[in-house]
Symmetry: C2
Subunit: 205 residues, 2 copies
DNA sequence: GTCTATATTAAGATAGAC
DNA sequence: GTCTATCTTAATATAGAC
């Protein structure tokens, strides 16, 4: 019994995820979610009470999927910055190829409701920037990298990795290339981004 | 008479711009646009026939505002790459501080309707990447910069400039800073981004 | 727990007076 | 050209049978 309930609940959540990530909160239709799940609308309300609650469940799940990816850069103590940059870039790009709608979904909905980030901050697993900051400062002092602000490095890293997926339609239009060529370009970026940033923080002799 | 018409039409467009850029196509309400403009819903239909058409007018206007900013980097023949990167970064960040909703609006709606970029491509003033590409190749051959793919440099430049505004709520959350501190960080980036990219394409001796 | 049928509300769009 | 009133449709949500 309990298993059945959990199963359906989960099935709805997965279906809702697909629709919300394609259409956003406002564009999504409960009917479409029901169709996607192969059940009727009433069931959605039975399990999640309202569209709003269903949406928030989807959003929380999506964020909890991407947060560890970010947090790994910030909190892992065992690798130096050079290696962290490489690791993040590599794993993030592979990760996002599997979840292409995710970055747009997160960004879009955070722009719709600026305070929602506070709800997320309160949750366990929210990325902790202060550890990354401490590491940057430490490596600067040890003379491993040249002086740089941790905030800027962090913003660079995320911008270079995330934006090209967010703006894929725009770039394809500018560069006049198709999906395949764009995917190759993204694959190339694993090397490209690491080189750019490592070259930047490295101390010149 | 004609002036009156044009004036109201324009007033509606400006009001619609505000609402659409805050709420997106799906989230915007015709009633809200009418309120913003201080008129009634019927007027919106009188001038723009449907929500779809009104939206497209707003989008076209928004895009025509940002396209020249991009095109300036791509097509200006009189400055070398080093200077172009500086100019673009400087002027883009200043520009976007004045139009904070614009990047999110463009990106979001292009993700909703991937084919819409084709409509834009057909328009006059659409940024022409091939000129930029030619310039990069030329400067590489002349030994002014080290070998690099024009596409990647272009993606870097736009990512570093645009994403931090798109993801402002996210970054404020991660870095735990307020609007003022974030604005300062963005101001700093004018220098920061130029340095990062110029350092990257410069030939090491 | 799952369905069909229906209530309720709200949005886009139009008719028609002025 | 501008308004009020209204039509139509569609979406969220609920009631109630099974």
């Amino acid at each position: 019994m309990k298993d059945e309930k959990t199963q359906t609940e989960d099935h709805i959540l997965n279906s809702a995820e697909k629709v919300f990530q394609r259409k956003g909160m406002d564009g999504a239709r409960m009917q479409e979610i029901a169709n996607e799940a192969g059940i009727n609308k009433a069931m959605l309300h039975y399990y999640y009470r309202s569209k709003r609650f269903l949406f928030e469940a989807v959003f929380a799940k999506a964020f909890s999927l991407i947060a560890p990816e970010i947090d790994r850069v910030l909190s892992d103590d065992n690798t130096d910055l050079f290696q962290k940059i490489k690791n993040f870039t590599n794993s993030y790009i592979s990760f996002i190829q599997k979840h292409p709608y995710l970055p747009n979904f997160i960004i879009q909905e955070l722009n719709r409701d600026a305070d929602f980030i506070k709800v997320l901050q309160a949750k366990k697993g929210f990325p902790d920037f202060s550890k990354f900051e401490a590491q940057v400062e430490k490596e600067v002092q040890e003379g491993k990298i040249r002086p740089i602000k941790a905030e800027q490095l962090f913003v660079h890293l995320l911008s270079l990795n995330i934006f090209p997926f967010l703006a894929a339609p725009l770039f394809k239009g500018f560069l006049k290339i198709d999906d395949k060529a764009y995917k190759d370009l993204m694959e190339e970026r694993k090397e490209e981004i690491s080189n750019l940033l490592i070259n930047y923080i490295k101390i010149k002799e």
